[in-house]
Symmetry: C2
Subunit: 719 residues, 2 copies
């Protein structure tokens, strides 16, 4: 790729971004699109946008994003989103501060030297553009004293990273503490999750067992318990019931619109069977299922109690204390942990036993390891099979289509990569599935786990893979002889690939953030659905309802960019402005999206932060080791000075972990002991945890839950 | 060493043991020696021995030891001692079960083969006795199918170890739970230790700070707090005062015995200065110091408060919960942990800050590492210096003594090893000192830490050192070429050294336990002291008062023996009976000592166990790896089957750790929530933690501690 071609591709993507931004400015003012561009505000009951939607400046969103405070973000989108912005601005700060020093110092130093030409080293820059290489460390002669400037630059970047991430950790810790000590009543602060219940004594029920155990330890503050039940059957009936309710609403909406009453067939998928009047049929079905549901609810509550429970306390301090303490002499019994929010409970994982969880975890780690290292093998295999020839042979009926010239060209271009494309599209879901299989009880934790896996995948494959991959086969011999040569190898191939990654980062942000901001895809989908599919209000609502920011893929992608930029920051400082642009644009666009579009799916009070911090430290470490190898290659005799940096990073991480981390695993007591605004309504807290399929229609009956969920309202036979 | 010489040395030590045991049987019946042989019973207010002391069978102690139950041991010597016996009997069980299978199977297999002679392999057994080598695995031919028997034996020993140590862990866990749930009031169960207090706000005192903090979190159960003060000065005055009190008692005892009143000189060490009447002089001094002490106590309590405190709660459950929970958002503030027993508090370590503790720990680890690896260097250096020639030169006044023939011979024999002898004698104390320097707040923990260090020292130096040491220099070259050759090297030199270790173990138990049982040394010291030094009752009591079992050196020594015996169990099964004898004799002798002699210095409720368990697992792992290497040398093609064992051991350790370990770090709540026999006397609990130097003579004044130790009795200005 030549320099001009890089500029062309940069220019093109910049134009795409501008077009998408203008499109956004125009589309977002249309009232009909408000539900796509302002769903978060609408769901919070606010005006779609401040000021009239017609008269407003199309670029007002930029002003609004800049003028919004952290508190606004917390109010609109929760602590997790605010923490994500701390992450963005920390990384931005690191890159800006690095750039301010590195660009004016290193670029002149590099460009005034002549190492590349002198060494006749044109082979390494083959396929890359020399103009950029002249501005990089590759242009410095070996053993030149000018390398001192680069060595000091490595230190400067590291120190900036330490200082800013320390400040950020402190800030996030305060954010978390503030959120947790809020005087609002939050159900999860009054509950603990109890897993690994031991066998029940004969003649005792699960709830007797749980209640008597906790009542004896916390006689004053125990409120009641909710034994987890096997809800498979009741969930199924409830799902069917809800489905018929939706269909009924739809049929009613249709019959209102037209004069004929809608009909449907009762057989498979409504395609065969008897023709019936829909509204009557659905009403009958609903009545029938409601009865069935009630019966099943009773059976479930009474007979399908499983080995875990949620236990509720009448105050926050006790719940906080209980969640951190060992309850049983054998650790694999009565395992008590913090209760996740009701909405992020992964019910199916609650009853997995202690050692099974551990075994599952290791198996999953192993599967992920295999996936990361060997994913290319099955994909290559599939690619090899899915050639046009094979398709023609295996699926002869496709022949006429395949043989058409235009389709053939497209297929020939994409078929080999098809497996890879499908794999990369499915990977986040696969990793989420794997993380869920680990037996993690909380949704946010599953997402953190998946995000971590995705990070390893992307860094190892994209970064190290691309860097080493190309040269690996050629140099396989040299590695076999001396396994220690991996670091210099990595370092040697870095500058060659700098330009590749520069293009990668540059393209990524313009097109990616343009699409993000303009929401073209959701907009089109929404309008199509509204026109052809949705009949009822609920269906339309479902059509525009946005997801959350989806950290599981967003954070690893950001981490990959920061890793790349950090690693090249000293070698080719021209990459820094692109990194700055990526995170600055990201901050701006996502600020808008967080305030107006995305609706958070959970609140974990910033638990994502230690995860981000560790990954930043991991990137820094990779950077420092790479630089050590790179300096080693340049035969600079003061290179050993750099060995101090990885050690410093490890110490820094260790100190951060020791000082801050525990407060992210648990709630500190000084935080939980803050006074509440009002006395908590314990019944409401309790009910927020009852799964919807178990809530009876006749909610008024007080004794409904006595059977399975707790014993508190009965005359306590277990006390 | 030839076989006969081994038998001779074995016979000699057996005779020594018999003599010492007879001596014990005779001496222990003398009433005058009761305080040496039954101090634990006497201190507990029991009869020295059951039944009349004259008429009893001199071997009754054996019957008594066997008939004593675990509960007897707990009553007389605490849970820690009972756990030590679990350790002994577990190890004994492992060896007995191994021996029952290995001896009748492996010995015939080995002796019927002829590998040694066929290989002409007489060089390896040079200096060792062939008769024993013929019974060892070294006598098996290479690649012989007879090796299967040995391979299965390795599995058998491992499985026996797993099963018995699993059972033991479970049993000890139950022991600990039972002791902790005892209905007796124990002060440490109502207190927590709070370290790393943050800076005090201006105008606030430490105790206000502590009291208000804990009262806000635990409004119902907080009792009061005891802020740690800087007691250096008050301790010094108190020490002087106590010294004078002792001297006064002594002077009074002397004056009672004789007609003249004792006098002394007031100057340095009583050697110069004015001659005064002792009783008058001491009385005056005591009066003076008492005043000084009271003044200093007030100053200390008011002005010398430091950054840590003990906090008392009115119930066990709250204290247990608090000790396990995070209190401050920043982990290095308000660090709350379980309070150690009053008698094992290491006051000087309480005020060391969080990160300082960590840094100290790593420094100490490094120092220990250096000590273990390089201790031989300074010792060699000192040995080189302290030759007779040098002594004569440096200390010429010694010349006439050194030049005498008989002294010269002795000096020449021992001078070279003098440094080593002194070093080995001082090592346990040095390790205890190092462990204390780590900043550990509890005495039992210091001993555990020192014991761990000693174990590494002894295993690495004695076992691996002796085994490898001899062959190391010869084979230095081969190791340099291939670092993986360490395991086969270790394995190859094992059988050669088997006989050395056999002698080592055999000698150790007969002489060691003989001395232990007969208590010859303490007996002589006691009688000498009583005759020439002690005047008062208190002094005599001090002269016979025994220490505790001193786990810091005993456990690592036992561990060394089990490591040696395990490692040789399959190679040379004849070592097993000696191991059995060592632990059986140890069990018997120490059972007697625990019941009658030693007085426990602390009670840690079996916290030593995980430590022992891990070391047993470590020995097993070393054994399995060694066997893997040894089988590799024998070119047995099924050797890879053995690779499964180390993995199994790691999994087993991991499972044990997960299942049991937490209950040893913390108190489980189901244990702490057991009901107490009586309402705890909180004032008494509180006072048990006040250091003796701060207890005023006029203890009745209720408000005495208000100033520094707590605020509970004042009108609470801080609430």
């Amino acid at each position: 790729m030549e320099f001009s071609s890089f500029l062309t591709s940069l220019g093109t993507s910049f134009v795409i971004f501008i077009v998408l931004m203008l499109l956004f400015a125009w589309l977002s003012t249309k009232p009909g699109n408000a539900v796509v561009y302002y769903p978060n505000r609408i769901l919070k009951g606010l005006e779609p946008c401040e000021g009239g939607s017609r008269t407003r400046n199309p670029f007002a969103w930029i002003r609004e994003a800049f003028s919004s405070t952290e508190q606004d973000v917390i109010n609109m989108s929760g602590v997790d989103t605010a923490v994500y912005f701390v992450f963005l601005s920390t990384v931005l700060g690191i890159l800006v501060l690095s750039g301010i020093v590195l660009l004016p110092v290193l670029l002149p130093v590099a460009s005034t030297d002549d190492g590349l030409r002198k060494n006749g080293n044109t082979t390494t820059s083959k396929g890359t553009f020399n103009d950029l290489d002249k501005l990089s460390m590759a242009n410095i002669e070996e053993k030149s004293p000018k390398l001192w400037a680069f060595l000091i630059a490595v230190y400067w970047v590291s120190v900036v990273t330490y200082v800013l991430s320390w400040k950020a950790y402190k800030h996030v810790s305060a954010l978390r503490a503030n959120a947790l000590m809020s005087p609002e009543v939050r159900p999860e602060q009054f509950a603990v999750l109890v897993r690994d219940l031991p066998e029940v004594a004969p003649g005792q029920t699960r709830k007797d067992q749980v209640d008597s155990y906790f009542r004896s330890i916390y006689p004053d503050t125990f409120y009641r318990s909710l034994v987890v039940t096997n809800n498979k059957k009741v969930d199924k009936i409830w799902g069917e019931l809800e489905g018929y309710k939706k269909k009924l609403a739809r049929a009613e909406a249709i019959s209102e619109g037209s004069s004929t009453r809608p009909t449907n067939k009762t057989g498979f998928l409504g395609l065969c069977g008897k023709q019936v009047d829909s509204i009557e049929y659905y009403n009958e079905k609903i009545k029938e299922l409601t009865k069935k549901l009630e019966a099943e609810q009773k059976v479930t509550l009474r007979e399908k109690q499983l080995g875990s429970a949620l236990v509720f306390f009448t105050n926050r301090v006790t719940a906080t204390l209980a969640a951190q303490s060992l309850h049983a002499q054998m650790v694999n019994k009565w395992m008590v942990t913090e209760a996740p929010e009701p909405r992020q409970l992964v019910w199916s994982n609650l009853t997995i036993k202690f050692f099974e969880r551990i075994v599952r975890q290791y198996i999953i780690y192993f599967v992920v390891f295999l996936t990361i290292v060997f994913y290319i093998i099955p994909i290559g295999f599939i690619s090899a099979i899915t050639t046009l020839e094979n398709l023609r042979k295996l699926l002869p009926f496709l022949k006429p289509i395949i043989d058409r010239a235009e389709i053939k060209t497209v297929l020939e271009a994409y078929l080999p990569q098809l497996a890879l494309i499908v794999f990369l599209a499915l990977l986040p879901m696969f990793l989420l599935f794997l993380s869920k299989m680990e037996g993690i009880p909380s949704g946010s934790h599953v997402i953190r786990a998946a995000s971590g896996k995705y990070f390893y995948f992307s860094v190892l494959n994209v970064f190290i893979g691309v860097t080493i991959g190309g040269t690996l086969f050629r140099t396989m011999k040299s590695i076999e002889e001396d396994p220690n040569s991996l670091v210099p190898l990595l370092a040697k191939s870095l500058p060659v690939n700098a330009t590749f990654f520069l293009t990668f980062v540059a393209l990524k942000f313009f097109v990616g953030y343009g699409l993000e901001l303009s929401r073209i895809v959701p907009l089109i989908i929404y309008h199509l659905k509204r026109k052809y599919l949705c009949k009822t209000e609920a269906e339309i609502r479902e059509a525009w309802c946005p997801g959350d920011i989806s950290y599981a893929t967003r954070v690893p992608n950001d981490m990959l960019v920061i890793t790349i930029v950090l690693c090249y920051s000293v070698i080719a400082p021209v990459i820094i402005p692109f990194g700055v642009l990526y995170f600055a644009l990201g901050w701006l666009v996502l600020r808008n999206q967080a305030l107006k579009v995305y609706v958070p799916a959970y609140e974990s009070y910033g638990r994502m932060w230690p995860h981000m911090h560790n990954r930043i430290m991991g990137s820094l470490l990779l950077y420092q080791v790479t630089m050590f190898g790179y300096f080693g290659v340049s035969q600079f005799s003061y290179t050993p000075i750099l060995i101090l940096l990885p050690i410093l990073s490890l110490i820094f991480s260790y100190v951060c972990r020791k000082k801050f981390y525990n407060a992210f695993c648990h709630t500190a007591l000084e935080v939980a002991s803050q006074e509440l605004k009002q006395t908590p309504n314990m019944e409401q807290i309790f009910r927020s945890y009852v799964p919807p399929s178990l809530i009876s229609e006749k909610q008024e009956e007080d004794g409904q839950f006595e059977d399975a969920l707790s014993r508190v309202s009965r005359t306590g036979s277990s006390v």
